[in-house]
Protein backbone atom coordinates (compact mmCIF):
# COMPACT_ATOMS: atom_id res chain seq x y z
CA UNK A 1 0.00 0.00 0.00
CA UNK A 2 1.34 3.40 -0.91
CA UNK A 3 0.35 6.13 1.48
CA UNK A 4 -0.70 9.32 -0.27
CA UNK A 5 0.36 12.83 0.56
CA UNK A 6 -2.26 15.01 2.17
CA UNK A 7 -4.10 18.05 0.91
CA UNK A 8 -5.06 20.73 3.41
CA UNK A 9 -8.74 21.34 4.16
CA UNK A 10 -10.05 23.85 6.68
CA UNK A 11 -9.97 24.04 10.46
CA UNK A 12 -12.22 21.56 12.23
CA UNK A 13 -13.80 24.52 14.00
CA UNK A 14 -14.81 25.96 10.62
CA UNK A 15 -16.32 22.63 9.65
CA UNK A 16 -18.18 22.59 12.97
CA UNK A 17 -19.71 26.02 12.44
CA UNK A 18 -20.63 25.29 8.80
CA UNK A 19 -22.28 22.02 9.79
CA UNK A 20 -24.13 23.63 12.69
CA UNK A 21 -25.49 26.32 10.36
CA UNK A 22 -26.75 23.60 8.06
CA UNK A 23 -28.59 22.00 10.96
CA UNK A 24 -29.94 25.28 12.32
CA UNK A 25 -31.41 26.22 8.97
CA UNK A 26 -33.93 23.41 9.21
CA UNK A 27 -34.42 23.15 12.94
CA UNK A 28 -35.36 26.08 15.18
CA UNK A 29 -34.59 23.96 18.23
CA UNK A 30 -30.87 24.04 17.44
CA UNK A 31 -29.32 26.59 19.77
CA UNK A 32 -25.72 27.72 20.14
CA UNK A 33 -24.89 29.02 23.61
CA UNK A 34 -21.71 31.06 23.91
CA UNK A 35 -19.72 32.76 26.62
CA UNK A 36 -18.41 35.77 24.67
CA UNK A 37 -16.91 33.06 22.47
CA UNK A 38 -18.75 33.32 19.17
CA UNK A 39 -15.66 34.75 17.46
CA UNK A 40 -13.26 32.09 18.67
CA UNK A 41 -15.93 29.44 18.03
CA UNK A 42 -16.35 30.63 14.43
CA UNK A 43 -19.99 31.31 15.25
CA UNK A 44 -20.17 34.98 14.28
CA UNK A 45 -21.83 34.17 10.96
CA UNK A 46 -24.13 31.72 12.72
CA UNK A 47 -25.20 34.55 15.04
CA UNK A 48 -25.85 36.86 12.11
CA UNK A 49 -27.86 34.28 10.17
CA UNK A 50 -29.76 32.88 13.14
CA UNK A 51 -29.97 35.64 15.77
CA UNK A 52 -32.80 33.83 17.57
CA UNK A 53 -30.76 30.65 17.81
CA UNK A 54 -27.68 31.98 19.57
CA UNK A 55 -27.69 32.72 23.27
CA UNK A 56 -24.96 34.81 24.76
CA UNK A 57 -24.36 34.38 28.49
CA UNK A 58 -21.26 36.54 28.74
CA UNK A 59 -17.98 35.43 30.25
CA UNK A 60 -19.60 33.03 32.68
CA UNK A 61 -18.83 29.41 31.90
CA UNK A 62 -20.58 27.89 34.91
CA UNK A 63 -23.77 29.65 33.92
CA UNK A 64 -23.16 28.65 30.29
CA UNK A 65 -23.37 24.96 31.12
CA UNK A 66 -26.20 25.30 33.64
CA UNK A 67 -28.28 27.33 31.19
CA UNK A 68 -27.48 24.84 28.42
CA UNK A 69 -28.72 21.96 30.59
CA UNK A 70 -31.88 23.90 31.44
CA UNK A 71 -32.55 24.61 27.76
CA UNK A 72 -31.93 20.96 26.85
CA UNK A 73 -34.35 19.78 29.53
CA UNK A 74 -36.99 21.97 27.89
CA UNK A 75 -36.52 20.29 24.52
CA UNK A 76 -33.81 22.37 22.89
CA UNK A 77 -30.89 20.82 20.98
CA UNK A 78 -28.07 22.75 22.60
CA UNK A 79 -24.46 23.29 21.57
CA UNK A 80 -22.58 25.05 24.36
CA UNK A 81 -19.39 26.41 22.84
CA UNK A 82 -16.57 27.87 24.87
CA UNK A 83 -12.77 27.58 24.85
CA UNK A 84 -12.02 24.02 25.94
CA UNK A 85 -9.64 25.24 28.64
CA UNK A 86 -12.43 27.08 30.48
CA UNK A 87 -15.37 24.90 29.53
CA UNK A 88 -14.02 21.69 30.99
CA UNK A 89 -12.66 22.86 34.31
CA UNK A 90 -14.35 26.16 35.19
CA UNK A 91 -17.71 24.46 34.63
CA UNK A 92 -16.71 20.93 35.57
CA UNK A 93 -19.30 20.61 38.34
CA UNK A 94 -22.04 21.83 36.00
CA UNK A 95 -20.90 19.26 33.42
CA UNK A 96 -20.90 16.54 36.08
CA UNK A 97 -24.25 17.33 37.72
CA UNK A 98 -26.39 19.37 35.34
CA UNK A 99 -25.42 17.60 32.12
CA UNK A 100 -24.00 14.13 32.80
CA UNK A 101 -25.68 13.09 36.07
CA UNK A 102 -28.97 14.73 35.07
CA UNK A 103 -28.59 13.14 31.60
CA UNK A 104 -29.29 16.20 29.48
CA UNK A 105 -28.28 15.73 25.84
CA UNK A 106 -26.14 18.87 25.67
CA UNK A 107 -23.25 18.95 23.22
CA UNK A 108 -20.32 20.66 24.88
CA UNK A 109 -18.05 22.13 22.25
CA UNK A 110 -14.48 22.70 23.36
CA UNK A 111 -13.13 25.46 21.15
CA UNK A 112 -9.44 25.92 20.29
CA UNK A 113 -8.62 22.84 22.26
CA UNK A 114 -5.30 21.35 23.29
CA UNK A 115 -2.52 23.82 22.59
CA UNK A 116 -4.33 25.65 19.79
CA UNK A 117 -3.79 28.77 21.88
CA UNK A 118 -0.17 27.66 22.26
CA UNK A 119 1.49 31.04 22.65
CA UNK A 120 -1.07 32.26 25.19
CA UNK A 121 0.26 30.01 27.90
CA UNK A 122 -1.00 27.31 30.23
CA UNK A 123 -4.12 29.24 31.26
CA UNK A 124 -5.36 28.74 27.72
CA UNK A 125 -4.15 25.18 27.11
CA UNK A 126 -6.65 22.36 27.56
CA UNK A 127 -4.52 19.30 27.97
CA UNK A 128 -6.50 18.00 30.95
CA UNK A 129 -10.02 17.91 29.48
CA UNK A 130 -10.11 14.27 28.42
CA UNK A 131 -8.69 13.15 31.78
CA UNK A 132 -11.27 15.00 33.85
CA UNK A 133 -14.22 14.07 31.64
CA UNK A 134 -13.20 10.40 31.39
CA UNK A 135 -13.75 10.13 35.12
CA UNK A 136 -17.35 11.33 34.81
CA UNK A 137 -20.09 8.84 34.04
CA UNK A 138 -22.36 9.41 31.06
CA UNK A 139 -20.42 11.67 28.73
CA UNK A 140 -19.16 10.74 25.28
CA UNK A 141 -15.79 12.27 24.43
CA UNK A 142 -15.14 12.81 20.74
CA UNK A 143 -11.95 14.33 19.29
CA UNK A 144 -12.25 14.55 15.50
CA UNK A 145 -9.10 14.30 13.39
CA UNK A 146 -10.16 16.08 10.23
CA UNK A 147 -13.08 17.83 8.56
CA UNK A 148 -14.78 14.54 7.70
CA UNK A 149 -14.80 13.42 11.31
CA UNK A 150 -15.68 16.93 12.54
CA UNK A 151 -18.70 17.02 10.24
CA UNK A 152 -20.03 13.59 11.12
CA UNK A 153 -19.19 13.91 14.80
CA UNK A 154 -21.36 17.00 14.96
CA UNK A 155 -24.22 15.29 13.15
CA UNK A 156 -23.93 12.32 15.52
CA UNK A 157 -23.87 14.61 18.55
CA UNK A 158 -26.96 16.43 17.30
CA UNK A 159 -28.82 13.12 17.17
CA UNK A 160 -27.47 11.71 20.42
CA UNK A 161 -29.77 11.41 23.41
CA UNK A 162 -26.71 11.47 25.70
CA UNK A 163 -24.22 14.22 26.55
CA UNK A 164 -21.29 14.67 24.19
CA UNK A 165 -18.02 16.58 24.49
CA UNK A 166 -16.56 17.60 21.12
CA UNK A 167 -13.03 18.91 20.99
CA UNK A 168 -11.99 21.10 18.07
CA UNK A 169 -8.69 22.74 17.20
CA UNK A 170 -8.32 25.78 15.02
CA UNK A 171 -5.54 24.73 12.66
CA UNK A 172 -6.43 23.88 9.04
CA UNK A 173 -6.41 20.10 8.90
CA UNK A 174 -5.54 17.79 6.02
CA UNK A 175 -8.16 15.48 4.62
CA UNK A 176 -7.07 12.07 5.82
CA UNK A 177 -7.61 8.85 3.92
CA UNK A 178 -9.60 6.13 5.65
CA UNK A 179 -10.42 2.56 4.77
CA UNK A 180 -14.15 3.23 5.17
CA UNK A 181 -16.03 6.47 4.63
CA UNK A 182 -18.04 5.89 7.76
CA UNK A 183 -18.27 7.64 11.11
CA UNK A 184 -19.85 6.36 14.26
CA UNK A 185 -19.30 7.50 17.85
CA UNK A 186 -17.41 4.73 19.62
CA UNK A 187 -16.08 3.11 16.43
CA UNK A 188 -12.53 4.09 15.51
CA UNK A 189 -11.51 4.89 11.93
CA UNK A 190 -8.68 3.03 10.22
CA UNK A 191 -6.63 5.65 8.37
CA UNK A 192 -4.18 3.15 6.91
CA UNK A 193 -3.40 -0.49 7.56
CA UNK A 194 -0.12 -2.08 8.61
CA UNK A 195 1.18 -4.79 10.89
CA UNK A 196 4.43 -3.73 12.48
CA UNK A 197 3.84 -0.33 14.10
CA UNK A 198 0.43 0.88 15.23
CA UNK A 199 -0.27 4.53 15.88
CA UNK A 200 -3.47 5.03 17.86
CA UNK A 201 -4.01 8.77 17.73
CA UNK A 202 -6.80 11.29 18.11
CA UNK A 203 -7.65 14.78 16.94
CA UNK A 204 -4.95 16.86 15.35
CA UNK A 205 -2.24 14.31 16.12
CA UNK A 206 -3.62 11.80 13.62
CA UNK A 207 -2.13 13.76 10.70
CA UNK A 208 1.46 13.67 12.00
CA UNK A 209 0.97 10.00 12.87
CA UNK A 210 -0.05 9.39 9.27
CA UNK A 211 2.99 11.31 8.03
CA UNK A 212 5.17 9.18 10.30
CA UNK A 213 3.57 6.07 8.79
CA UNK A 214 4.60 7.33 5.36
CA UNK A 215 8.19 7.77 6.53
CA UNK A 216 8.16 4.27 8.04
CA UNK A 217 6.81 2.88 4.78
CA UNK A 218 9.69 4.46 2.91
CA UNK A 219 11.98 2.46 5.22
CA UNK A 220 10.07 -0.73 4.51
CA UNK A 221 8.25 -0.75 7.85
CA UNK A 222 4.52 -1.25 7.75
CA UNK A 223 2.46 0.99 10.02
CA UNK A 224 -1.21 1.15 10.89
CA UNK A 225 -2.82 4.45 11.86
CA UNK A 226 -6.04 4.50 13.82
CA UNK A 227 -8.05 7.64 14.44
CA UNK A 228 -9.46 6.91 17.88
CA UNK A 229 -11.84 9.84 17.60
CA UNK A 230 -13.99 8.59 20.46
CA UNK A 231 -12.13 8.26 23.73
CA UNK A 232 -15.23 7.46 25.72
CA UNK A 233 -16.62 4.94 25.00
CA UNK A 234 -13.31 3.57 23.79
CA UNK A 235 -13.40 1.23 20.80
CA UNK A 236 -11.99 -1.67 22.80
CA UNK A 237 -12.27 -4.16 19.96
CA UNK A 238 -10.09 -1.99 17.77
CA UNK A 239 -7.41 -1.53 20.43
CA UNK A 240 -7.34 -5.27 21.13
CA UNK A 241 -7.19 -6.24 17.46
CA UNK A 242 -4.35 -3.77 16.84
CA UNK A 243 -2.45 -5.15 19.83
CA UNK A 244 -2.83 -8.68 18.50
CA UNK A 245 -1.69 -7.69 15.03
CA UNK A 246 1.13 -5.17 15.47
CA UNK A 247 4.54 -5.50 17.12
CA UNK A 248 4.46 -2.13 18.90
CA UNK A 249 1.82 0.44 19.77
CA UNK A 250 2.29 4.19 20.03
CA UNK A 251 -0.56 6.34 21.22
CA UNK A 252 -0.54 10.01 20.28
CA UNK A 253 -2.66 12.79 21.75
CA UNK A 254 -2.76 16.55 22.19
CA UNK A 255 -3.18 16.03 25.90
CA UNK A 256 -1.25 15.39 29.07
CA UNK A 257 0.02 11.80 29.18
CA UNK A 258 -1.87 11.42 32.46
CA UNK A 259 -5.42 10.24 32.05
CA UNK A 260 -5.88 10.55 28.32
CA UNK A 261 -6.12 8.26 25.31
CA UNK A 262 -2.80 6.54 25.99
CA UNK A 263 -3.67 5.54 29.53
CA UNK A 264 -7.12 4.41 28.43
CA UNK A 265 -5.52 2.05 25.88
CA UNK A 266 -2.77 0.91 28.29
CA UNK A 267 -5.29 0.11 30.99
CA UNK A 268 -7.37 -1.93 28.59
CA UNK A 269 -4.40 -3.89 27.24
CA UNK A 270 -2.98 -4.69 30.68
CA UNK A 271 -6.34 -6.02 31.81
CA UNK A 272 -6.68 -8.04 28.62
CA UNK A 273 -3.18 -9.51 29.31
CA UNK A 274 -1.91 -8.11 26.02
CA UNK A 275 1.64 -6.98 26.78
CA UNK A 276 2.78 -5.11 23.69
CA UNK A 277 5.73 -2.68 23.63
CA UNK A 278 3.87 0.54 24.22
CA UNK A 279 4.61 4.26 24.27
CA UNK A 280 2.34 7.17 25.16
CA UNK A 281 3.20 10.34 23.28
CA UNK A 282 1.66 13.50 24.65
CA UNK A 283 2.59 16.28 27.03
CA UNK A 284 4.51 15.23 30.13
CA UNK A 285 3.58 16.34 33.63
CA UNK A 286 5.40 19.66 33.45
CA UNK A 287 4.58 23.27 32.66
CA UNK A 288 4.03 22.96 28.94
CA UNK A 289 6.28 25.04 26.69
CA UNK A 290 4.64 27.84 24.76
CA UNK A 291 4.70 28.80 21.10
CA UNK A 292 2.72 27.79 18.07
CA UNK A 293 0.88 24.48 18.15
CA UNK A 294 3.34 23.14 15.56
CA UNK A 295 6.33 24.18 17.67
CA UNK A 296 4.87 22.65 20.82
CA UNK A 297 4.00 19.44 18.96
CA UNK A 298 7.51 19.22 17.57
CA UNK A 299 9.11 19.84 21.00
CA UNK A 300 7.21 16.91 22.49
CA UNK A 301 7.74 14.60 19.53
CA UNK A 302 4.26 14.95 18.00
CA UNK A 303 5.60 15.30 14.47
CA UNK A 304 6.34 12.99 11.57
CA UNK A 305 10.04 12.90 12.48
CA UNK A 306 9.44 12.63 16.22
CA UNK A 307 6.96 9.79 15.86
CA UNK A 308 9.24 8.04 13.34
CA UNK A 309 12.04 8.10 15.90
CA UNK A 310 9.73 6.88 18.67
CA UNK A 311 8.67 3.97 16.46
CA UNK A 312 12.25 3.06 15.56
CA UNK A 313 13.27 3.19 19.23
CA UNK A 314 10.37 0.97 20.22
CA UNK A 315 11.31 -1.49 17.45
CA UNK A 316 14.95 -1.41 18.68
CA UNK A 317 16.15 -0.19 15.33
Amino acid sequence: MTLKSLSIGKANLDEFSATLMGLAENDKNILAVTSDSRGSGKLTLFGEKFPDQIIEVGIAEQNLVGVAAGLASAGKNVFAASPACFLTTRSLEQIKNDVAYSNQPVTLVGISAGVSYGALGSTHHSIHDVAVLRAINNIQIVVPADNFEAHYALLAAAKSSKPVYLKFGKKAMPDLPRTEEHFEIGKASVICQGDEVAFIACGETVAPAYEAARLLESKGISAEVISMHTINPLDKEMVISVAKKCRVIITVEEHCVNGGLGEACASLLMQEKLFVPFKIVGFPDEETVTGSQTEIFSYYGISAEGLLQTALNLLDR
Binding site: L31, D52, I55, V57, G58, A60, Q62, N63, V65, G66, V67, A68, A69, G70, L71, A72, S73, A74, G75, K76, E93, Q94, N97, D98, Y101, S102, N103
Partner: protein
Protein backbone atom coordinates in the same frame (compact mmCIF):
# COMPACT_ATOMS: atom_id res chain seq x y z
CA UNK B 1 -58.00 21.36 37.61
CA UNK B 2 -56.38 21.54 41.00
CA UNK B 3 -58.41 21.49 44.17
CA UNK B 4 -58.81 24.90 45.77
CA UNK B 5 -57.75 24.70 49.40
CA UNK B 6 -58.56 27.05 52.21
CA UNK B 7 -55.71 28.57 54.19
CA UNK B 8 -56.68 26.35 57.12
CA UNK B 9 -56.54 23.22 54.98
CA UNK B 10 -53.06 24.16 53.78
CA UNK B 11 -51.95 24.98 57.32
CA UNK B 12 -53.06 21.52 58.41
CA UNK B 13 -51.22 20.05 55.43
CA UNK B 14 -48.04 21.78 56.59
CA UNK B 15 -48.36 20.17 60.00
CA UNK B 16 -48.79 16.78 58.39
CA UNK B 17 -45.86 17.39 56.05
CA UNK B 18 -43.66 18.29 59.01
CA UNK B 19 -44.71 15.15 60.83
CA UNK B 20 -43.89 13.05 57.77
CA UNK B 21 -40.53 14.78 57.27
CA UNK B 22 -39.56 13.95 60.84
CA UNK B 23 -40.94 10.42 60.56
CA UNK B 24 -38.82 9.50 57.56
CA UNK B 25 -35.72 11.27 58.84
CA UNK B 26 -36.18 9.30 62.05
CA UNK B 27 -36.51 6.01 60.15
CA UNK B 28 -33.51 6.81 57.95
CA UNK B 29 -31.40 8.12 60.85
CA UNK B 30 -30.38 10.82 58.38
CA UNK B 31 -31.64 13.94 56.70
CA UNK B 32 -31.55 17.71 56.61
CA UNK B 33 -34.09 18.41 59.29
CA UNK B 34 -33.92 22.16 59.96
CA UNK B 35 -33.96 23.30 56.34
CA UNK B 36 -36.74 20.90 55.38
CA UNK B 37 -38.91 22.29 58.17
CA UNK B 38 -38.13 25.90 57.22
CA UNK B 39 -39.21 25.48 53.58
CA UNK B 40 -42.24 23.22 54.19
CA UNK B 41 -44.81 26.01 53.87
CA UNK B 42 -43.18 27.31 50.70
CA UNK B 43 -43.35 23.88 49.04
CA UNK B 44 -46.88 23.41 50.33
CA UNK B 45 -48.12 26.62 48.72
CA UNK B 46 -46.14 26.02 45.52
CA UNK B 47 -47.46 22.54 44.87
CA UNK B 48 -51.00 23.02 46.20
CA UNK B 49 -51.71 26.54 45.05
CA UNK B 50 -49.23 27.85 42.49
CA UNK B 51 -47.53 25.35 40.20
CA UNK B 52 -49.25 24.04 37.11
CA UNK B 53 -47.73 20.63 37.81
CA UNK B 54 -49.46 17.36 38.42
CA UNK B 55 -48.53 13.71 38.59
CA UNK B 56 -51.22 13.25 35.93
CA UNK B 57 -49.41 15.36 33.34
CA UNK B 58 -45.82 15.62 34.55
CA UNK B 59 -44.48 14.90 31.05
CA UNK B 60 -46.41 17.88 29.62
CA UNK B 61 -43.82 20.16 28.04
CA UNK B 62 -45.84 23.21 29.15
CA UNK B 63 -45.96 22.33 32.85
CA UNK B 64 -44.48 24.82 35.29
CA UNK B 65 -41.05 23.78 36.54
CA UNK B 66 -39.81 23.60 40.11
CA UNK B 67 -36.07 23.24 40.64
CA UNK B 68 -34.91 22.77 44.21
CA UNK B 69 -31.52 24.42 44.26
CA UNK B 70 -31.12 23.87 48.00
CA UNK B 71 -31.26 20.17 47.31
CA UNK B 72 -30.37 19.11 50.82
CA UNK B 73 -33.90 19.93 51.97
CA UNK B 74 -35.05 17.01 49.87
CA UNK B 75 -37.13 15.40 52.61
CA UNK B 76 -39.63 18.25 52.39
CA UNK B 77 -39.79 17.86 48.62
CA UNK B 78 -40.25 14.06 48.78
CA UNK B 79 -43.08 14.38 51.31
CA UNK B 80 -44.90 17.02 49.25
CA UNK B 81 -44.44 15.05 46.00
CA UNK B 82 -45.82 11.95 47.69
CA UNK B 83 -48.85 13.95 48.79
CA UNK B 84 -49.26 15.11 45.18
CA UNK B 85 -49.52 11.48 44.09
CA UNK B 86 -46.13 11.15 42.40
CA UNK B 87 -45.37 8.02 44.47
CA UNK B 88 -46.70 6.31 47.60
CA UNK B 89 -45.50 8.03 50.77
CA UNK B 90 -44.54 4.66 52.25
CA UNK B 91 -41.73 4.50 49.66
CA UNK B 92 -39.95 7.03 51.85
CA UNK B 93 -39.32 4.31 54.43
CA UNK B 94 -36.32 3.49 52.19
CA UNK B 95 -34.96 7.07 52.38
CA UNK B 96 -31.14 6.98 52.22
CA UNK B 97 -31.08 3.17 52.35
CA UNK B 98 -28.67 1.15 50.19
CA UNK B 99 -29.70 1.49 46.53
CA UNK B 100 -32.90 3.38 47.39
CA UNK B 101 -33.87 5.91 44.73
CA UNK B 102 -34.87 8.25 47.56
CA UNK B 103 -31.35 9.63 47.83
CA UNK B 104 -30.39 12.39 50.26
CA UNK B 105 -30.52 14.97 47.47
CA UNK B 106 -33.03 15.26 44.60
CA UNK B 107 -32.59 12.81 41.72
CA UNK B 108 -34.60 12.33 38.56
CA UNK B 109 -35.00 8.69 39.46
CA UNK B 110 -37.84 9.93 41.65
CA UNK B 111 -41.03 10.77 39.79
CA UNK B 112 -41.73 14.50 39.91
CA UNK B 113 -38.15 15.70 40.17
CA UNK B 114 -36.81 17.78 37.31
CA UNK B 115 -33.06 17.88 37.96
CA UNK B 116 -30.39 16.21 40.03
CA UNK B 117 -29.47 18.97 42.43
CA UNK B 118 -27.71 19.27 45.74
CA UNK B 119 -24.41 20.85 44.81
CA UNK B 120 -25.23 24.46 45.59
CA UNK B 121 -25.37 27.25 43.05
CA UNK B 122 -26.85 25.13 40.26
CA UNK B 123 -30.60 25.78 40.47
CA UNK B 124 -30.63 29.37 39.28
CA UNK B 125 -28.62 28.78 36.06
CA UNK B 126 -30.74 25.71 35.26
CA UNK B 127 -33.93 27.65 35.92
CA UNK B 128 -32.77 30.57 33.81
CA UNK B 129 -32.15 28.16 30.93
CA UNK B 130 -35.61 26.63 31.24
CA UNK B 131 -37.27 30.04 31.58
CA UNK B 132 -35.46 31.17 28.44
CA UNK B 133 -36.69 28.08 26.56
CA UNK B 134 -40.24 28.92 27.66
CA UNK B 135 -39.82 32.45 26.31
CA UNK B 136 -38.31 31.22 23.02
CA UNK B 137 -41.26 28.87 22.51
CA UNK B 138 -43.86 31.41 23.74
CA UNK B 139 -44.97 28.52 25.91
CA UNK B 140 -46.00 30.58 28.91
CA UNK B 141 -44.85 28.18 31.58
CA UNK B 142 -43.03 29.51 34.62
CA UNK B 143 -39.99 28.34 36.53
CA UNK B 144 -39.67 28.43 40.30
CA UNK B 145 -36.47 27.66 42.15
CA UNK B 146 -35.77 27.48 45.86
CA UNK B 147 -32.44 28.85 47.03
CA UNK B 148 -30.81 28.66 50.41
CA UNK B 149 -29.42 31.79 51.99
CA UNK B 150 -25.98 30.29 52.65
CA UNK B 151 -26.04 29.22 49.00
CA UNK B 152 -25.87 32.83 47.86
CA UNK B 153 -22.10 32.72 48.39
CA UNK B 154 -21.86 30.53 45.27
CA UNK B 155 -20.76 32.81 42.42
CA UNK B 156 -22.79 30.95 39.79
CA UNK B 157 -25.95 32.45 41.34
CA UNK B 158 -24.77 35.89 40.40
CA UNK B 159 -23.81 34.86 36.87
CA UNK B 160 -27.35 33.56 36.43
CA UNK B 161 -28.92 36.57 38.18
CA UNK B 162 -27.20 38.89 35.71
CA UNK B 163 -28.26 36.78 32.75
CA UNK B 164 -31.89 36.35 33.88
CA UNK B 165 -32.31 40.12 34.05
CA UNK B 166 -30.55 40.61 30.71
CA UNK B 167 -33.02 38.27 29.03
CA UNK B 168 -36.01 39.82 30.89
CA UNK B 169 -37.07 36.47 32.32
CA UNK B 170 -40.20 37.56 34.17
CA UNK B 171 -41.36 33.93 34.10
CA UNK B 172 -38.55 33.07 36.53
CA UNK B 173 -39.22 33.20 40.27
CA UNK B 174 -36.47 32.51 42.78
CA UNK B 175 -37.57 31.93 46.34
CA UNK B 176 -34.98 32.42 49.05
CA UNK B 177 -35.50 30.23 52.10
CA UNK B 178 -34.14 32.91 54.37
CA UNK B 179 -33.77 31.07 57.66
CA UNK B 180 -30.51 32.94 58.37
CA UNK B 181 -28.62 29.80 59.42
CA UNK B 182 -26.16 27.62 57.56
CA UNK B 183 -24.17 24.65 58.76
CA UNK B 184 -21.48 26.73 60.48
CA UNK B 185 -23.76 29.37 61.99
CA UNK B 186 -25.47 32.65 61.09
CA UNK B 187 -25.07 33.70 57.47
CA UNK B 188 -24.03 37.15 58.61
CA UNK B 189 -21.14 35.67 60.60
CA UNK B 190 -20.03 33.02 58.09
CA UNK B 191 -20.06 35.27 55.03
CA UNK B 192 -22.60 38.02 54.98
CA UNK B 193 -24.93 37.93 51.95
CA UNK B 194 -26.52 41.23 53.00
CA UNK B 195 -28.11 43.37 51.75
CA UNK B 196 -29.78 40.64 49.70
CA UNK B 197 -32.66 42.76 48.42
CA UNK B 198 -30.46 45.59 47.23
CA UNK B 199 -28.04 43.21 45.56
CA UNK B 200 -30.77 41.54 43.51
CA UNK B 201 -32.42 44.86 42.71
CA UNK B 202 -29.07 46.13 41.46
CA UNK B 203 -28.87 43.05 39.26
CA UNK B 204 -32.21 44.02 37.69
CA UNK B 205 -34.63 41.86 39.68
CA UNK B 206 -37.90 42.65 41.43
CA UNK B 207 -37.63 41.75 45.07
CA UNK B 208 -40.44 41.09 47.49
CA UNK B 209 -40.26 39.91 51.12
CA UNK B 210 -42.73 37.70 52.89
CA UNK B 211 -43.17 35.65 56.06
CA UNK B 212 -42.13 32.34 54.53
CA UNK B 213 -43.91 30.33 57.21
CA UNK B 214 -47.24 32.09 56.68
CA UNK B 215 -49.55 30.26 54.31
CA UNK B 216 -51.82 33.30 53.65
CA UNK B 217 -48.86 35.61 53.04
CA UNK B 218 -47.13 33.15 50.73
CA UNK B 219 -50.34 32.65 48.73
CA UNK B 220 -50.86 36.37 48.38
CA UNK B 221 -47.23 36.93 47.37
CA UNK B 222 -47.19 34.23 44.69
CA UNK B 223 -50.34 35.75 43.20
CA UNK B 224 -48.41 38.99 42.66
CA UNK B 225 -45.59 37.59 40.51
CA UNK B 226 -44.19 38.77 38.23
CA UNK B 227 -44.12 41.93 40.28
CA UNK B 228 -42.77 43.91 37.34
CA UNK B 229 -43.06 43.01 33.68
CA UNK B 230 -39.78 41.92 32.06
CA UNK B 231 -38.03 41.38 35.39
CA UNK B 232 -37.31 38.13 37.20
CA UNK B 233 -38.66 38.00 40.74
CA UNK B 234 -36.90 37.16 43.98
CA UNK B 235 -39.15 36.31 46.90
CA UNK B 236 -37.25 36.62 50.14
CA UNK B 237 -39.16 34.17 52.31
CA UNK B 238 -38.24 34.88 55.92
CA UNK B 239 -38.43 31.53 57.64
CA UNK B 240 -37.41 29.81 60.84
CA UNK B 241 -35.04 26.89 60.55
CA UNK B 242 -36.59 23.89 62.32
CA UNK B 243 -40.03 25.58 62.19
CA UNK B 244 -42.76 23.79 64.14
CA UNK B 245 -40.64 21.99 66.72
CA UNK B 246 -39.76 24.20 69.69
CA UNK B 247 -36.32 22.81 70.47
CA UNK B 248 -35.29 22.77 66.80
CA UNK B 249 -36.37 26.29 65.93
CA UNK B 250 -33.46 28.57 65.02
CA UNK B 251 -30.88 26.12 66.40
CA UNK B 252 -28.03 25.38 64.00
CA UNK B 253 -27.34 21.83 65.19
CA UNK B 254 -30.65 20.75 63.65
CA UNK B 255 -29.25 21.47 60.17
CA UNK B 256 -28.96 17.72 59.84
CA UNK B 257 -29.81 16.50 63.31
CA UNK B 258 -31.85 13.34 63.89
CA UNK B 259 -34.18 13.36 66.93
CA UNK B 260 -33.85 10.77 69.68
CA UNK B 261 -36.92 8.70 70.52
CA UNK B 262 -37.88 11.13 73.27
CA UNK B 263 -37.26 14.18 71.09
CA UNK B 264 -39.28 12.59 68.28
CA UNK B 265 -42.22 11.92 70.63
CA UNK B 266 -42.13 15.52 71.84
CA UNK B 267 -41.97 16.87 68.26
CA UNK B 268 -45.02 14.82 67.26
CA UNK B 269 -46.91 15.99 70.34
CA UNK B 270 -46.14 19.62 69.63
CA UNK B 271 -47.20 19.31 65.99
CA UNK B 272 -50.40 17.45 66.94
CA UNK B 273 -51.22 20.07 69.53
CA UNK B 274 -50.65 22.87 67.00
CA UNK B 275 -52.90 21.05 64.55
CA UNK B 276 -55.64 20.74 67.20
CA UNK B 277 -55.36 24.47 67.94
CA UNK B 278 -55.66 25.28 64.23
CA UNK B 279 -58.87 23.30 64.00
CA UNK B 280 -60.36 25.23 66.91
CA UNK B 281 -59.85 28.60 65.23
Amino acid sequence: MKKLYTDLELQIKSVNYRKSILKYIKIAHAGHTGGSLSCTDILNVLYNDVLNVSSDYFSDQNRDRYIQSKGHSVEALYVVLADQGFFPESDLETLCRFKSKYVGHPTRKVNGIEFNTGALGHGLPLSAGIALASKKDNAGYRVFTLLGDGELAEGSNWEAAMMAAHYKLDNLVAILDHNTLQITGRNRDVLSPYPIDEKFKAFGWSVISVDGNSIPQLRETFRKVPVEKEKPTLIIANTIKGKGVSYMEDVKKWHHGVPTDEQYRQAMEELDQYCAELKLI
